[in-house]
C-alpha cells in the first residue's frame, strides 16, 4: 500500500497454548482512520499493544513510519500516542499535573498554553485542578484523550475512545477526532465495539475474529457485501460466522 504508516506482516501472539493473534497482515494508509473491529477476545487490544511495543510478538514484523518497531521503537514513539480506558493515569495527581508530567516526558515546549488549549477544546477546564481519581469515568476518558493528543501525534492509537461517555460527550469527542484528523492529517487506528462510531469515523475497517482477520473494507463496502443496513448487523453476522456464507475466507482479505 503506498504511503502506509503501519505495515504489519504475519503478526502472531501466543500466550502458552492460546493464540491471541494469528498471522495477521495489514497496512494502514497515511491520513486514514481505520478500525480494528471484533468481539471480546478477537485480538484487537493485543494487536494494538504489539503496535505500541507494550507486548512483544511471538512472530511477525511491525513497521511504523518505515521503522522496524521491534528494533527502533524509540524513534517512532515520539510521533505517536495512545489512549485506552483500561490503562490509567495516577489517581492522586490532578489533571493538570498528569498532563504536565506527560508533556515533559514527550519533551514538549510551551506546556502551559498547550494544556490551556487542550483543556478548552476537550472541556476540561472545570476539572483541571481535580485529582484524576475524583473524576467520573467519562471525564477520565476525556483526560486520557487529552494526554494522547499532547504531542500532536501523527499516529493515534485509540482503544475504545468513547467508552463510558454519554452520547453527547461521545459525539463531541468523535467530532473532535474528525477535526483533529482533518487538520493534522494524522492517521488514526482505533479498536471499538461501537458500530455507529466506526461508521462515522472510519474509512477502513479490519474485522478480527479469534485472532484472525476475517474481513476488511470501507463501512459502505461491508454493508453492501453483507446486505445489511448498519455495521451492528454486519458485526453480528461475523460474530456468528456468517461471513463464510458470503464467501469470505479468513486471512485472504488483507490488502
Amino acid at each position: 500500500m503506498p504511503n502506509s504508516v503501519i505495515t504489519v506482516e504475519r503478526l502472531s501472539k501466543r500466550f502458552g497454548d492460546v493464540t491471541a493473534v494469528d498471522e495477521v497482515s495489514f497496512s494502514i494508509a497515511q491520513g486514514s482512520t481505520a478500525a480494528l473491529l471484533g468481539g471480546n477476545g478477537a485480538g484487537k487490544t493485543t494487536t494494538l499493544a504489539m503496535l505500541l511495543g507494550l507486548l512483544l510478538p511471538s512472530r511477525g514484523r511491525i513497521s511504523i513510519f518505515g521503522e522496524d518497531m521491534l528494533r527502533h521503537r524509540y524513534r517512532v514513539l515520539p510521533r505517536m500516542n495512545f489512549s485506552s480506558p483500561y490503562i490509567d493515569l495516577p489517581h492522586r495527581l490532578t489533571v493538570r499535573e498528569n498532563l504536565t508530567v506527560y508533556s515533559r516526558l514527550y519533551g514538549l515546549p510551551h506546556i502551559k498554553p498547550r494544556l490551556a488549549r487542550l483543556a478548552h477544546e476537550l472541556d476540561l477546564e472545570g476539572i483541571f485542578n481535580r485529582t484524576y481519581g475524583q473524576l467520573s469515568s467519562g471525564q477520565r476518558t476525556r483526560v486520557a484523550l487529552a494526554k494522547a493528543l499532547l504531542n500532536q501525534p501523527e499516529l493515534l492509537l485509540l482503544d475504545e475512545p468513547t467508552a463510558s461517555l454519554d452520547p453527547d460527550s461521545a459525539d463531541y469527542v468523535r467530532g473532535y477526532l474528525e477535526t483533529y484528523q482533518a487538520g493534522s492529517g494524522a492517521t488514526i487506528l482505533l479498536a471499538s465495539h461501537n458500530m455507529s462510531e466506526v461508521e462515522r469515523l472510519c474509512d477502513d475497517v479490519i474485522i478480527l475474529r479469534a485472532g484472525k482477520i476475517v474481513d476488511r473494507g470501507t463501512p459502505r463496502s461491508l454493508l453492501d457485501r453483507y446486505g445489511r443496513q448498519n455495521m451492528e448487523e454486519v458485526f453480528i453476522d461475523i460474530a456468528r460466522e456468517r461471513y463464510l456464507e458470503f464467501g469470505v475466507e479468513p486471512r485472504k482479505v488483507a490488502k
Partner: protein, 272 residues
C-alpha cells in the same frame, strides 16, 4: 547540538518528569511523608534506649556509645534505599500507569534513573529526619562520623537500589501478589551484614558469605571508625567493587524482567 548530547538531555528531562510526578504525589500526601520518617525514627529511639542501657552493662558498647544508633541509621539507609526503588515502582503499578509510561518515549533505563533519584530523596527525608531527632534525644550525631559517613551512605544506598531493582522486576513479572517482597526481602541480609555485631561472630563459612555483601564491609568500616578511630580504606574499596557487581546485576535483572513482562503482557494487564 550533537545527536548524542540531544539524546542525553532528552533522557535527563524524562527522568526529571518522572521525579516530578512523584514529587507531586509526595507533596499532596502527608501520610507518605510521615511513613518515610516513622520507621527510622522508631528504630532509632528503640536502639537509643538500648544504647543507654548497654553503656553501663557492656564494655563493648561503652567503647563507642553511638555504635548502635549509627548502625540502625545506616541500616535504614540500606532499607530505605531499597524500599525507595520498590515502592516508587509499585506506585506506577498501583495506579495502572505503566502502560501509559511505556508508550511515551521513556526508556526502562530512564525509569531506573528516576527510581534512584526518588529513592535518594526519600532516604534523605526518612533517615535525615531520624538522625536529627537522635541529636535532640540522645545527644548523638551520626554526622560526627565525618567524611566516612558519605562513603558508607553511598555504598549502602547503591546496594539498596540493586536489591530494589530485583524486587521491582520480580513484582513486574509476577504481579502485585509478590509486593510483600518489597518490605521483607532486605531483612534476609541483615543477619549476615553485621549491622549490630562484628562479622567474626558468624560461623567461618557464613563469614565468607557475609563478605560477599557490600553492607558487611560498610558496617565493619563503621565500627573501625567508631571504636578504633580508623578509616579502613580496604573495606571501602571492597564495598565499592562489590557494589559495581550488585548494581550491574540489579540493572540487568530489571531489564530482563521488563523484557519478560513485554513477552507475557504484564505491561498491559497489571494485577495480582
Amino acid at each position: 547540538m550533537s545527536g548524542y548530547l540531544a539524546r542525553t538531555i532528552g533522557s535527563f528531562r524524562r527522568i526529571a518528569a518522572i521525579v516530578l510526578r512523584h514529587v507531586y504525589l509526595l507533596r499532596r500526601s502527608w501520610p507518605r511523608i510521615l511513613e518515610l520518617m516513622y520507621w527510622p525514627t522508631v528504630q532509632m529511639i528503640l536502639w537509643g534506649f538500648i544504647t543507654l542501657f548497654f553503656v553501663n552493662h557492656s564494655s563493648w558498647v561503652a567503647q563507642a556509645a553511638g555504635i548502635l544508633i549509627s548502625a540502625v541509621l545506616l541500616w535504614d539507609v540500606l532499607f530505605r534505599g531499597q524500599l525507595g526503588v520498590s515502592v516508587i515502582f509499585m506506585e506506577e503499578m498501583w495506579s495502572r500507569n505503566l502502560g501509559q509510561l511505556f508508550v511515551s518515549p521513556l526508556r526502562p533505563i530512564e525509569l531506573i534513573g528516576a527510581l534512584f533519584t526518588m529513592s535518594l530523596i526519600r532516604t534523605i527525608i526518612g533517615v535525615g529526619g531520624a538522625s536529627l531527632i537522635a541529636i535532640g534525644l540522645f545527644h548523638y550525631s551520626i554526622y560526627d562520623l565525618g567524611l566516612p559517613l558519605i562513603a558508607f551512605f553511598v555504598n549502602l544506598i547503591v546496594m539498596g537500589w540493586s536489591i530494589g531493582l530485583i524486587v521491582s522486576g520480580t513484582i513486574l513479572r509476577y504481579g502485585l501478589g509478590a509486593e510483600s517482597l518489597a518490605w521483607i526481602a532486605i531483612f534476609a541480609l541483615q543477619p549476615i551484614s553485621g549491622v549490630y555485631y562484628p562479622i567474626d561472630v558468624l560461623p567461618p563459612w557464613l563469614q565468607h558469605v557475609a563478605f560477599m555483601l557490600p553492607s558487611s564491609h560498610v558496617f565493619e568500616g563503621m565500627r573501625a571508625v567508631l571504636i578504633d578511630q580508623t578509616f579502613r580504606v580496604d573495606l571501602l574499596v571492597n564495598a565499592l567493587v562489590l557494589n559495581v557487581f550488585f548494581l550491574g546485576g540489579g540493572i540487568v535483572a530489571f531489564l530482563l524482567f521488563f523484557r519478560a513482562a513485554r513477552v507475557g503482557g504484564q505491561l498491559v494487564q497489571v494485577g495480582e
